[in-house]
Amino acid sequence: MIPRFAIADAPFEIAPLRAHLLRAEAGAYASFEGWVRNHNEGRAALGLRYEAYVALAEAEGLKIVEEALERFEIADAACVHRVGDLDVGDLAVWVGVSAAHRDAAFAACRWIIDEVKSRVPIWKHERYAEGDAAWLHPE
């Protein structure tokens, strides 16, 4: 049993997560991936660290995916978010959604990543090319 939301403290493979969402009745699959960029808000970034309050993050993330299953006509959905030290180009977050039709797959995928970004207790610590670093606590 793969949980529908997980915090991963090491790189993870997307392929088995995606395979888990495949259904004979589901013709559409939408996915989103967030990768570590080399810049943020105009500053050159070297990499970052994600930290989570793991117990609450996993509970809240699972709640989001389960809410998506209620709100949208989808077959299944899942999300994994990395914590720890990440370099530019590393995978930070993955969302996958399967559905009979693409409208619902896209809408649910977008909704899940938006909710994860606004509700799940995970914090980003960026290291900048100038040598400083900062926690991001968006307004």
Binding site: G34, Y53, L56, K117, H125, H137
Partner: protein, 79 residues
């Protein structure tokens, strides 16, 4: 008096200088944060935080029981 475990994350942990601490406190979660904010000099005002008790989101006027685990949740930045 209630003995509480308080968890710190992100910039609150940097300011507190520790992941967690044990605190004796009477009163609600609002008064707990204000007390700890004064002690550690936390820059984040209470209005920008959420609070959790025993692994679930809580309200600022909840009063923690003895042994509760409290976490202050700064604005999140995952994704």
């Amino acid at each position: 008096m209630s003995m509480l475990s308080v968890l710190y994350f992100a910039s609150l942990r940097d300011a507190a200088g520790c992941d967690s601490e044990r605190v004796d406190h009477d009163g609600d979660l609002r008064s707990l944060y204000l007390m700890l904010q004064a002690k550690h000099g936390f820059a984040l005002p209470l209005e920008r935080l959420r609070v959790a008790m025993n692994g679930a989101f809580a309200r600022w006027d909840d009063v923690p029981g003895d042994g509760a685990e409290i976490a202050f949740i700064p604005p999140v930045s995952g994704g």
